[in-house]
């Protein structure tokens, strides 16, 4: 059976979490079976010509080091949400959301060396040697980041599913440009989609946050 057929077959055996992950994507079958991670018997494939189909990699996520065995096709987003490190601990950073899985919606936005990127469109292997920051790493302990405070103050969310991505994109903007114009705010958030349409409140929140930074 090809991997594709397997993915489709696994679509009939949906757990609550994988169902939730599929919601809003339109294609449940394509999303409930992310690239298989550690523990899959097939990962012990022979490695030839210096080409690796699996590798043990080190990732620096929110200033914590994780050692994880991944397949080459595993995305950073899959590691964040479903990854298990070599010590058997779940990475369990589910702030970045799996929504479109095609680099279009922005729900999975994280920082790579301070720049906003789509975790669904970055291979985990390519995240090595980069400093990855997810929405979980934005606050300083219990002290919320000014962007997070401003989102609360302006009620800049409805369902909240897109909020982590918007927070991360806003932080990326303010790290680079502390006094953005409204046009710059809109451009910097143009890679994130909010189906509830809370954009005006989000733009207000980023303006407020920029005044505090």
């Amino acid at each position: 059976m090809s991997d594709k057929e397997k993915e489709k077959k696994q679509g009939t055996n949906i757990s609550r979490r994988s169902f939730l992950k599929g919601v809003g994507t339109g294609t449940v079958a394509a999303t409930v079976a992310p690239a298989i991670l550690v523990g899959d018997s097939e990962t012990a494939e022979a490695q030839t010509d210096g080409a690796a189909s699996t590798a043990k990699i080190q990732l620096n996520i929110n200033e914590k080091l994780y050692e994880i065995e991944v397949e080459a096709r595993t995305t950073l987003l899959t590691v964040l949400r479903d990854g298990i490190d070599t010590g058997g601990n779940s990475v369990d950073l589910t702030g970045a959301k799996l929504i479109c899985d095609r680099g279009e919606c922005g729900g999975c936005t994280v920082l790579a060396d301070g720049k906003a990127v789509y975790a669904c469109m970055m291979l985990a292997m390519d995240a090595q040697s980069k400093q990855i920051t997810t929405v979980e790493g934005i606050a300083n302990g219990d002290d919320l980041h000014p962007v997070q405070e401003a989102f609360i103050q302006h009620d800049a969310m409805m369902c909240g599913f897109c909020t982590p991505g918007f927070i991360v994109s806003s932080v990326a903007l303010l790290n680079e440009n502390q006094k953005p114009t409204i046009a710059e705010i809109k451009d910097s958030l143009s890679g994130n989609t909010c189906r509830c349409g809370t954009y005006p409140f989000i733009f207000d929140a980023v303006e407020t946050a920029s005044e505090k930074m």
Binding site: E42, T48, A51, A52, R73, R102, K115, A116, Y118, M121
Partner: protein, 326 residues
């Protein structure tokens, strides 16, 4: 995505020799991956091996001097859009780069990837459709849904080329360096792209064992004005419905030379010799600029759903020309 092996590239020689043993599709190159990974996720491509180009040293540099600009193929779209010298002296290029996709994609997408990205046609991108471009018998856009398809140069495949940067580079008379097993060669960016009549399966002349290394852009003369205008369906990031890269050498309100290259309307970036001839040597005003637009689309052959692109393209050209005198 199907499984694949991953090789970190160490030299161009290694890359071209790894590529040489296979035709298209078995061994593929990945840089930013924003286009390739979506093709892999849709099973449009199912390579056995990916060569990671990001580990090639020094290929992401941008250097500018009085004679021109050299941009490594691994420079990101964001690096190009934000580069001060490019914004100042190669405005059309900076504007085109800034119009690409979203900040997240510009931060990882590369120059080489932008030039070599595959078409966005919904038939091509559908795993279940074996269209002409993928070796089938029919371009389904001809009798199917063709809102985003070509109005110029389409026969027999009516995709449009999705790159914003390519029209800007062609309008700036840029060249492109390609490495292959036999060494390096340089050709005009304009000669890099091909129409489906020459090869329905690919959008450029790159061979399976070749790689785009660098783009070279001669510095425009001081009296040059350049612009990139891009029409999208709505304000949000998207591929162009139609776009115009215009580079004009001006003497007062008179256009001494005009380079007009269209995006989003043909299977390759489309230089409009008709618009260029109409504008060259003329005092630019509304009637001249409208005539340039009309000349550019006089041979357009729209499909069922994309006649709007004819008017849109004409007006975009006219607006671009008028910007040179405003």
């Amino acid at each position: 995505m199907d499984k694949f092996s991953y090789v970190n590239a160490s030299s161009l020689k290694q890359v071209t020799s790894l590529l040489s043993d296979s035709g298209w599709g078995e061994v593929m190159m990945i840089a930013g991956g924003t286009d390739l990974l979506s093709e892999l996720k849709e099973y449009i491509e199912t390579p056995k091996t990916l060569i990671n180009l990001k580990t090639l040293p020094g290929m992401d540099s941008i250097s500018a001097n009085a004679s021109g600009l050299k941009i490594g193929a691994l420079a990101t779209v964001a690096d190009i859009a934000k580069h001060r010298t490019i914004q100042q002296h190669y405005t059309v290029l900076a504007q085109a780069a800034a119009s690409v996709a979203t900040p997240q994609i510009r931060n990882v997408g590369t120059l080489g990837g932008n030039l070599c990205q595959r078409p966005r046609c919904w038939y091509y991108r559908d795993e279940t459709v074996n269209c002409l471009k993928k070796g089938g018998d029919i371009c389904y856009a001809v009798d199917g849904l063709s809102k985003y398809h070509a109005i110029l140069g389409g026969d027999p495949v009516y995709i449009v080329h999705p790159s914003d940067i390519a029209p800007a580079l062609i309008a700036l008379n840029a060249s492109l360096k390609i490495a292959g097993p036999e060494g390096e060669k340089t050709l005009k960016v304009e000669e890099f792209f091909t129409l489906p009549a020459a090869n329905p399966f690919r959008e450029n002349v790159l061979q399976p064992n070749e790689i785009v290394v660098e783009v070279q852009v001669p510095q425009p003369k001081p009296n040059t004005k350049s612009f990139y205008l891009k029409a999208r369906e709505k304000g949000a990031p998207d591929f162009a419905l139609a776009s115009v890269a215009g580079v004009f050498e001006m003497m007062g309100k008179t256009c001494q030379t005009a380079n007009v290259v269209l995006g989003g309307v043909a299977p390759a970036p489309w230089r409009s010799a008709e618009a260029e001839t109409t504008l060259t040597g003329k005092m630019i005003n509304e009637s001249v600029s409208l005539k340039a637009g009309a000349e550019a689309v006089k041979d357009a052959q729209p499909l069922n759903d994309n006649a709007y692109k004819v008017t849109l393209t004409q007006n975009l050209i006219s607006r671009t020309a008028m910007m040179a005198v405003s």
